[in-house]
């Protein structure tokens, strides 16, 4: 039983991106989902700084300091890309025009609350960025994260302990151990890592899990760690 690595989590989430979607990908694991979108799906990736249609990362020769995504990475544009200013970018986000946003998280509560902007590190300044807008206003909010903290603490909880990003927003969670839907009745597991028992998964989770009748094994191709 080997938990998925970060690239594999990103891969798994990417398989659920539907053809024609407009998606926003957060920093970290979510950003890698762009690399694993199945090639038969034509997807536009939006970035908060106004890029609609982010392409691959720029090679050294083509890198341009004005062509960046919201994570300050120098990128390229895909065919059909457009660029707007920040006001229009967040009008697009707040107006619900993004189909799905994939975000990293520290904690997710059983009713869908998300904590992903303040890990409680002392002294460091706050960083809200676009997370609250994306979480509060996007129709589907998917979270990719490790199922537990490094010290084994649960991240899927009855109630978040860290500062909230938005309430009742997360619709799905992709972890290294499971794919979990957030339903009005709480967490519903759709996929579980092969070799991991339901009891073991529950033991690593801070809220009651239910299991879908057709709960499957969580599988991903071998991928180098991100």
């Amino acid at each position: 039983m080997t938990p998925l690595n970060r690239n594999q989590i990103a891969w798994r989430a990417a398989q659920d991106i539907r053809d024609g979607m407009l998606v926003n990908l957060g920093i970290g694991i979510p950003s890698h989902a762009a690399d694993f979108i199945p090639p038969d799906r034509d997807v536009f990736v939006q970035s908060e700084n106004g890029i609609i249609g982010c392409g691959a990362l720029a090679g050294k020769a083509e890198a341009d300091s004005d062509l960046v995504d919201a994570s300050s990475r120098r990128i390229t544009l895909r065919p059909g890309a457009a660029i707007v200013d920040s006001v229009a970018s967040f009008a697009m986000i707040r107006g619900g025009h993004i189909d799905v946003t994939i975000l990293g998280a520290f904690e997710v509560a059983a009713k869908g609350d998300l904590a992903n902007w303040d890990s409680g590190v002392p002294d460091k300044g706050p960083l809200i960025g676009g997370a609250m807008d994306l979480a509060a206003c996007t129709g589907e909010v998917w979270v990719t994260m490790e199922h537990t903290t490094r010290s084994g603490g649960a991240r899927l909880l009855d109630a978040c302990t860290l500062k909230l990003t938005a309430v009742r927003c997360v619709t799905r969670v992709y972890t290294d151990l499971a794919v979990v839907e957030v339903t009005p009745e709480g967490f519903l597991v759709h996929e579980i890592l092969p070799g991991l028992s339901r009891e073991e998964l529950q033991a690593r989770t801070g809220a009651a899990l239910r299991f879908a009748p057709d709960c499957r094994t969580l599988e991903a191709p071998p991928l180098a760690a991100a």
């Binding site: 004005d66 300050s72 200013d85 707040r94």
Partner: protein, 229 residues
């Protein structure tokens, strides 16, 4: 007299900026920092500034020069966390209680600036409901959804980077360079832009991304020098 908004020095560009000014600084993710103007403002040295800037800590922005020089009383932003474990100049002063901080969701930050320029004194948004943003804000339900009321932000001077300007102050931006710039230009009494190139002949109408009627002064810095460290 034929309109000509081009100025020949940073001194002219920043003339009249005073102690206590609310200064809006554009730029995001490495694109669109008016670093020549920011540096010149730090040298000019007005005190007690309020900065309206998306990030108080972006390493490619010279905003830190204003902070390190002790000119800043308050920052309104969406990001104030430096990279790594060491504290950034902003975080040091903030920890010591020497800079006040208002940290906002980025869409609320940009929309409040836009409202300031568009004559909208306040608006409602669902963003921040149920979070610490809600504290001290009026909450009101529309169509079954709680929203917070957010008020406009206006400023005294905007420092914005663009690519090309003409004598009328019309602007075009490269790629992601615009970001908060257009909104900030509308929200400030004095709108100052640094550009690679400031042309005498007018930009073609189809190339203008920001009408010059929102721009007061244009300073040409030549290609590339305004960007990066």
């Amino acid at each position: 007299m034929p309109i000509d908004k081009r100025v020949n020095s940073t001194a002219e560009a920043l003339h009249g900026v005073q102690d206590g000014a609310v200064v809006m600084i554009s730029g995001f993710a490495g694109a669109g920092f008016a670093n020549i103007l920011i540096h010149a403002l730090a040298e000019l040295g007005p005190r007690d500034l309020t900065l309206v800037v998306n990030s108080a800590t972006h390493p490619l922005s010279r905003t830190h020069e204003l902070i390190e020089a002790g000119l800043v009383r308050k920052v309104i932003c969406s990001a104030a966390r430096g990279r790594g474990r060491d504290l950034s100049p902003f975080e040091k002063l903030w920890k010591e209680g020497r800079i006040e901080l208002e940290c906002l969701p980025q869409g609320t930050f940009s929309e409040r600036i836009r409202a300031g320029g568009a004559g909208i004194p306040a608006f409602y948004t669902p963003v921040g409901v149920g979070t610490e943003i809600e504290m001290g804000r009026e909450v009101r339900r529309f169509n079954g959804r709680d929203c917070v009321m957010e008020e406009a932000i206006v400023g005294d001077v905007a420092l914005v980077r663009a690519n090309v300007a003409d004598r009328y102050g019309n602007l075009s931006f490269r790629y992601a360079q615009a970001n908060f710039g257009p909104a900030m230009l509308t929200a400030c009494k004095l709108a100052v832009v640094e550009v690679c190139e400031a042309r005498d002949e007018p930009l073609p109408q189809t190339a203008i991304q920001m009408p010059g009627s929102f721009v007061d002064r244009v300073f040409a810095v030549g290609d590339g020098v305004g960007e990066g460290a």
